[in-house]
């Protein structure tokens, strides 16, 4: 229990640090979103992080809400000259008390390579995200910001953040499950370019109770080696000058606003596999194979994910038709095939 008190006390100190940061920045910027049926406020101390952290949510932006369901406060330590409070507990122990959340409703994660703290109180519906300086924000955070905070908070509400892409047509959502390199992103983006609806290429939210998929980010990421397969995306790439080190990022809502949807009922789970064949093919597959494709890649990416996340994924794969998708070498042919599949 001592550790838990320390955690709560640390959360309160972070809360005070943000207030201090907001005073020093002399400006608070608030942006509101509707995400998976919940109202979310992003509150920034100073504007340095605003363009970096809001672009991926642009398609979900709403008017001001008086009492948002969740408020996430963000600051950069350089701009606001406000450091994080020092800790006096061991973060590994801190985590050890997390599984099942029986003892505490505070989650935290520290990304050591970038010195980023994410901390959330589920009871207070309040979270904080703090980085050393805006310019040190890694590029993948701009494409998929605040993943852990959304994962923790949404999981408590029966909504699972999963490592998956999702496209759709005629109100039917198709989820692509598979680890990095399975062809998930290329397939998702090929479908978008073909005219299909789009919810996300890497992370989406799923309500496993009613099998509804919700969009979280309007970004698309693709490995630089694969962008030649989707040449019409190349002029839209945000970080074209850095493709020797980074994946290509496109904020798709800027170019395809009508196709970036809020949610879709889940129609099928497809597990893409690169085959080198000339024609795309589809085969019925088992719920277990879908769990193998979805479970580990979701759970290992989300700190604090465990039994609850795996249970949610089991419910999802048991109520959804599952297929293996044998990808051809032609992105346009794959998209045509999936368009017909969803029709």
């Amino acid at each position: 229990m001592g550790e838990i008190k320390q955690e709560q006390s640390y959360f309160e100190k972070v809360c005070l640090a943000f207030q201090d940061a907001a005073k020093k920045a002399e400006a608070i910027y608030e942006y509101y979103y509707k995400i998976a049926e919940h109202s979310i406020c992003l509150r920034f101390a100073g504007e340095s992080l605003v363009p970096l952290m809001t672009h991926a949510f642009k398609h979900l932006q709403t008017q001001t809400v008086s009492k948002p369901d969740l408020t996430l406060c963000l600051w950069d330590r350089e701009l606001t000259k406000t450091d994080l409070p020092p800790t006096n507990f061991c973060r590994s122990e801190y985590y050890a008390s997390k599984p099942g959340l029986e003892k505490t409703s505070i989650y935290s994660a520290w990304q050591p390579d970038y010195a980023i703290l994410s901390i959330l109180s589920c009871e207070e519906n309040l979270g904080f995200y703090c980085i050393p300086q805006a310019k040190s924000l890694p590029y993948f955070e701009t494409a998929a910001p605040l993943r852990l905070l959304f994962h923790w908070w949404m999981q408590e509400r029966g909504i699972q953040l999963i490592h998956s892409g999702c496209v759709g047509k005629q109100n039917k959502g198709i989820l692509f499950a598979g680890k990095g390199g399975s062809g998930k992103s290329t397939t998702t983006l090929a479908c978008l370019l073909h005219g299909m609806d789009y919810l996300g290429d890497d992370y989406v939210l799923v309500s496993h109770k009613d099998a509804t998929v919700y969009s979280l980010y309007n970004s698309g990421k693709i490995h630089a080696d694969n962008i030649h397969r989707l040449p019409s995306l190349l002029p839209l790439v945000k970080n074209a000058d850095k493709l020797n080190q980074e994946k290509a990022i496109v904020f798709l809502y800027d170019f395809f606003p009508a196709q970036i949807l809020y949610s879709l009922p889940l129609h099928a789970i497809l597990m893409p596999k690169i085959t080198g064949q000339k024609a795309t093919a589809i085969k019925k597959a088992s719920a277990t194979s879908a769990l193998m494709a979805l479970g580990p890649s979701t759970i290992f990416q989300m700190a604090g994910a465990g039994e609850k996340a795996l249970g949610a994924l089991v419910q999802l794969v048991q109520k959804t038709p599952v297929f293996s998708l044998e990808l051809s070498t032609e992105a346009a042919e794959i998209a045509q095939f999936l368009d017909a599949f969803a029709t």
């Binding site: 006096n88 973060r91 050591p112 680890k179 759970i299 465990g306």
Partner: protein, 139 residues
């Protein structure tokens, strides 16, 4: 009598469509089992002693009992070495199931191990703090 339980919370598992998926959260490794492995896993993790589990196998499968015993011992050791189960005081009391009237041919139990997600643990956010209270990367 020796009893075992799942090494929770770092190990989680799910039964789905008569198959079992096991995840070791700390190691970044996941597993599935063949049917013989599932029988052993379900038996051990539902409170049977290792002796009772072996008897269950001998009742379920036809074949050389010495071979079944040796395969069981090897598989049991593998579950322990992978850190998937740990010894415990005593399993919970469960209703004993009757062996099937028709024995099945024995297949060696198999634990399939998948390590392709381990690189994701590089993003592991669990780190110690230094003397000044700042987290530092575990070496």
């Amino acid at each position: 009598m020796q009893y075992f339980k799942i090494n929770s919370p770092q190990v989680i598992h799910q039964n789905i469509e008569n198959e079992v998926m096991i995840i070791h959260l700390d190691k970044g490794v996941y597993y599935n089992l063949n049917q013989t492995g599932i029988l052993i896993w379900n038996s051990l993790t539902s409170g049977d002693s290792s002796e009772d589990t072996l008897q269950k196998m001998l009742g379920e499968y036809e074949g050389n009992s010495a071979e079944i015993q040796s395969c069981f011992a090897e598989f049991h050791k593998e579950l322990l070495e992978e850190g998937l189960i740990v010894p415990c005081e005593k399993g919970q009391e469960i209703a004993k199931t009757q062996p099937s009237p028709l024995k099945q041919p024995f297949l060696k139990p198999v634990l399939n191990k998948y390590t392709d997600m381990q690189e994701l643990l590089l993003l592991d956010p669990i780190h110690e703090v230094d003397n000044g209270g700042w987290p530092e990367k575990k070496e």
